[in-house]
Amino acid sequence: MPKGMLIIDKERCKGCGLCIVACPHQVLAFSGELNRSGYNVVHMERPEACVGCGFCALTCPDVAIEVYRERVPA
């Protein structure tokens, strides 16, 4: 199981690509899928590499990304 996981709100994503560059683990890429506004939205191309660091979400201008991380045993 990957350490991190994202929920990307497709309708918020504007396909700017900033998250793709911000991700230190090359997790993200354009999906080729257009949303209702006509934007090419991103998806997790390599979900297994995600560490849940949240860089992508910090960078996203449209607050389209929620980040989840492995529960660390208390």
Partner: protein, 252 residues
């Protein structure tokens, strides 16, 4: 995919102070990042119920739609004066003005400088994207020498139109301001730094210390005619040469 987050903890989500409204900004525009940061700090400080945001005229004119706090849409350039009126009328409110470079440093020059000079206990966020975004890409007072805009089609010629104005440096000449800083958003580190700076600018107000100004170097991919990623690089490599990052005053 929600299934797979079942056993995980949410480490980053939509700040509670943000409404559900979608931003009207162009793809990759830094206005969005900044809006999220401010909401997050309103969350962190727990002040959403006593905050009043002043929306400018500019691409951020819709700012009143994004936050779950009260808001006022100010006339072009006068957000700092409107903020003054609000804060003086009710000092318990936490007041922030969000202003573009055209708004803050051109038409609003007098209101910006004199609110700072009076040391109004407010927080001003000054978004320097070196262009008039809203109106379609005209020169801003902060536009770089040689920068092509719709009103400087051959590039800004300093002999005719002067030099990019370092407004924060001017404000830093005044005695009253407690905190004047310049930040950027072109990578994760700068985003984290900017977040801290904005937190401080709000905290100063909460503590009654006085006027804080956070200038933020931002992109306008649309009017710069660059891809968002190129625009980020441009800020990092070119814009910060003219507008160096860092604190100019910290009397906190």
């Amino acid at each position: 995919m929600p299934v797979s987050t079942e056993k995980m903890v949410k480490v980053f989500g939509r700040p509670a102070s943000l409404t559900e409204a979608r931003f009207t900004y162009c793809p990759g525009c830094h206005h969005g990042i900044l809006t999220r940061i401010i909401a997050q700090i309103i969350d962190e400080l727990g002040i959403v119920e006593r905050t009043v945001g002043i929306a400018p005229v500019g691409c951020a004119v819709f700012a009143y739609l994004w936050y779950r706090c009260d808001a006022i849409q100010a006339s072009h350039g006068r957000a700092s004066a409107v903020a003054t009126g609000v804060k003086r009328a009710n000092p318990n409110l936490i007041v922030f003005a969000y202003q573009g470079d055209g708004d803050f440093a051109s038409i609003g020059t007098a209101e910006s400088i004199h609110a700072a000079n009076r040391g109004e206990n407010i927080t001003v966020i000054f978004v320097n994207n070196q262009v008039y975004g809203m109106t379609g890409g005209e020169m801003a007072p902060t536009s770089l020498v040689g920068q092509k805009t719709t009103t400087t089609p051959d590039g800004r010629d300093p002999a005719l139109f002067g030099y990019p104005i370092r407004f924060s440096e001017m404000i830093a000449q005044l005695d009253a301001p407690v905190y004047v800083t310049r930040q950027a958003l072109y990578d994760t580190k700068r985003i984290v730094d900017a977040t801290k700076a904005i937190n401080k600018a709000f905290t100063n107000q909460l503590e009654g210390k006085g006027y804080s100004l956070v200038e933020v170097l931002a992109t306008c991919p649309t009017n710069w005619r660059m891809k968002p990623t190129e625009a980020n690089k441009h800020v990092a490599e070119v814009v910060t040469k003219v507008f160096p990052l860092g604190d100019l005053i910290d009397r906190g």
